[in-house]
């Protein structure tokens, strides 16, 4: 089984005026299919940069990034666009639905940019909407939906192109606790269905739902642990982190 994503010594440098910012300084890990990974880290740790690279919105300065068998570090702008349309499912903190489109039309957008949109595809979009619990709101506009409902639409949209993985960027950041729980349960259900999920978050209450937590610090992987398992898989700096106790605490009501 090939990995959904494989990072090999990934570097990313930004040139700001005369100064070079080294946002990622050699990150390597693999996300197997069916995994549920939370990427954490303080601001400035390189999470956003890593997210942009995983989402094919940017190219690494050095190193290689494979999605499935495709090396995206070698792709041009159009190929990156096509990869985004066909193999990546984005879920954003602020939902990012297109206001003038209805629920079902928003779900269709990635298919539209793949250049294929058949009658069956539209039917499938409606099915996805049904799956996330919005089957009765297909014709609504985003403005007519609550935050949680909008995020459900975004999740349905991220699934429609059968992606390598769902890339969620603080998906619950704008939601209240009850809705957060609902959305996280939806992610868990999707993961149980075999969907790969990569989620960027800074909340421990969210990351405990993932199977695995990767912590970044100063552009490097600080730790890479399995949740519910005190065995530290990879630890490049600092000592082992006791996540188990934390997880225990936060799952308590």
């Amino acid at each position: 089984m090939s990995a959904a994503a494989r990072l090999e010594d990934l570097h990313k440098n930004y040139v700001l005026k005369s100064e070079t910012v080294r946002a990622l300084r050699g990150v390597s890990f693999e996300v197997p299919e069916g995994d549920y990974v939370a990427i954490m880290g303080p601001s400035g740790s390189g999470k956003s940069t890593l997210l942009n690279l995983l989402g094919c919105l940017d190219r690494p300065s050095e190193g290689r990034l494979f999605l499935g068998d495709d090396d995206i570090s070698q792709m041009n702008d159009n190929q990156l666009s096509y990869t985004r349309a066909s193999r990546i499912g984005f879920v954003f903190q602020s939902y990012n639905l297109i206001q003038q489109l209805t629920v079902v039309e928003n779900i269709e957008v990635p298919l539209y940019y793949q250049g294929t949109l058949s009658k069956e595809d539209r039917a499938r979009c409606a099915e996805w909407a049904d799956l996330v619990g919005l089957g009765d709101r297909l014709g609504h506009r985003p403005a007519q939906l609550s935050g949680g409902q909008q995020q459900r639409v975004a999740i349905a949209r991220s699934l429609v192109n059968d992606p390598y993985f769902i890339l969620a960027d603080e998906p619950t950041g704008n939601l209240d606790t009850a809705t957060t729980t609902e959305i996280l349960r939806l992610f868990e259900n999707l993961n149980d269905m075999g969907k790969t999920i990569i989620m960027v978050t800074h909340e421990d209450e969210v990351s405990v739902h993932a199977k695995r937590v990767i912590r970044l610090r100063d552009g490097l992987v600080q730790s890479d642990v399995l949740n519910g398992d005190d065995r530290v898989k990879l630890n490049t700096s600092g000592g082992p982190i006791d996540l188990f106790a934390k997880a225990e605490k936060s799952t308590a009501p």
């Binding site: 985004r84 984005f90 003038q100 957008v109 990635p110 539209y112 949109l117």
Partner: protein, 443 residues
């Protein structure tokens, strides 16, 4: 399917800001409508002018007598000035010119004409039967002067509609006689001609011809009864001038021969009139061509003004689209993240500008078609409320009837679409060049 969706999406996006879109469309509407209006008004004016020139006859050449600026015998004691076309010229022209269908000698003079107690000033025209055909006179009743009447130098005349109106308001003029007081002579009326539009005035060499007050008489009768010399009494002294013919109108066979024949006419006349410039050759065809050149210049000028208003409309589109692109930065970011290529973004925004400009173009064409009714309505409205203002307007403005130039419709529409694309391209390009990461972060 996808193609259709792109367009539907464009229209939907425009409806996000209906007012803004409507104002942008208005800019193009005004541009397109003004192209059609200005060209229609220009065409109306120039066709009117052309009709007047055509009234002179495109296949005619007119040779006119004119008073020389410095008569050759100015110092002599002779009080009678003799100038202009001679009957000899007429014979010579008829004998030498090929390609001549007919040649009409004409003599004109202002005379008082009386019937009963009514006196009017009329223009007495001595001519031959062909005159009616050349000047497109239509006989209403009776007949025009005949060859026999010319040969026999009979005292007959044909009246123009204006003269009939003034002299015979209640009676039938046919068979009656009018009286020329200065020559103590009667002329029997044999025919009446229909009313005819006046011809154009032609720059200096010929007055505008108003055929309304004409009295047509055989040219031979004028020579016999009136003669060539006209004496005018002026403050004690007497002054006179001798003119044999005022004009010779030549009808040329085929318009293509007009130019060559005109040159020949000038060569022939040089013999008798070389030194004294007392004749002028007028070629309506030349005037017609001149009018056509003027018309093209006029059209170009009008088109230029209209094009400026279209460009202004285009700048309006660009302005709005730039604002739209900035405002929808977030949407652009989302679309890019979901897989839109740069070209997809360009296409999306270009479609919106094309929709705007096509809507402007289509409504502009409708507005253009309203040109005629609106101008007529405005004119009759003005006539109703302020008749004195209408009277003070120049004739061109008062009478112009716009004629929609067929080419102006596709032209205006095409230009509006081209302008939409031209001015939409830059905002669309700007949208496509945005960094998706930056765009997504945009609030």
């Amino acid at each position: 399917m996808l193609f259709l969706r792109t367009w539907i999406l464009g229209i939907k996006s425009l409806f996000l800001h209906p007012m803004r879109s409507a104002l942008t469309v208005l800019g193009i509407f005004i541009g397109v409508a003004s192209v059609i209006w200005l060209l229609a008004i220009g065409e109306g004016i120039s066709q009117e002018a052309q009709k007047q020139i055509e009234g002179l006859g495109a296949d005619n050449i007119m040779v006119r007598s004119r008073k020389p600026l410095n008569p050759p015998d100015a110092g002599s004691n002779s009080f009678i000035l003799s100038y202009g076309l001679l009957r000899e010229d007429y014979d010579m022209l008829v004998a030498t010119l090929p390609n001549i269908r007919s040649a009409i000698p004409i003599r004109e003079m202002q005379r008082e004409v009386r019937y009963g107690d009514t006196n009017i000033e009329a223009r007495v025209v001595g001519c031959t039967p062909e005159y009616a055909e050349v000047t497109r006179l239509e006989i209403e009743r009776g007949h025009f002067i005949t060859d026999a009447e010319v040969k026999l130098q009979e005292n007959v005349c044909v009246l123009a509609a204006g003269v009939v109106e003034d002299l015979f308001p209640y009676e039938d003029p046919i068979g009656r006689s009018i009286y020329l007081q200065e020559h103590e002579d009667y002329y029997k009326i044999v025919g009446i001609v229909q009313d005819r539009n006046p011809t154009a005035a032609i720059g200096g060499s010929m007055d505008a011809q108003d055929f309304g007050s004409d009295v047509y008489v055989p040219i031979t009768t004028i020579r016999k009864r009136i003669g060539d010399t006209i004496v005018v009494r002026r403050s004690g002294s007497r002054e006179g001038q001798t003119i044999q013919l005022d004009q010779i109108t030549l009808r040329v066979k085929g318009i293509e021969n007009v130019q060559r024949t005109a040159e020949l006419v000038e060569q022939v006349l040089e013999k008798n009139h070389g030194k004294v410039q007392d004749v002028a050759v007028v070629v309506p065809l030349e005037l017609l061509e001149q009018a056509r050149r003027t018309r093209i210049m006029f059209m170009v000028f009008m088109g230029l003004i209209a094009a400026i208003s279209l460009i202004v409309g285009g700048i309006g589109i660009m302005n709005i689209m730039l604002a739209t692109v900035t405002e929808r930065t977030r949407e652009i970011g989302i679309r890019r993240a979901l897989g839109a290529r740069r070209n997809d973004i360009i296409r999306q925004f270009l479609v919106e500008t094309i929709v705007l400009s096509v809507m402007g173009g289509a409504t502009g064409i409708l507005g253009g078609y309203l040109c005629q009714p609106i101008i007529r309505l405005a004119r009759s409205g003005l006539q109703w409320y302020k008749p004195e203002m209408i009277q003070s307007l120049p004739e061109v403005v008062r009478d112009v009837d716009p004629i929609i130039v067929p080419i102006s419709i596709p032209l205006a529409f095409g230009i509006s679409v081209v302008i939409g694309v031209m001015f939409g391209l830059y905002p669309a390009y700007r949208a496509a060049q945005m960094d998706p990461i930056e765009a997504l972060r945009h609030e």
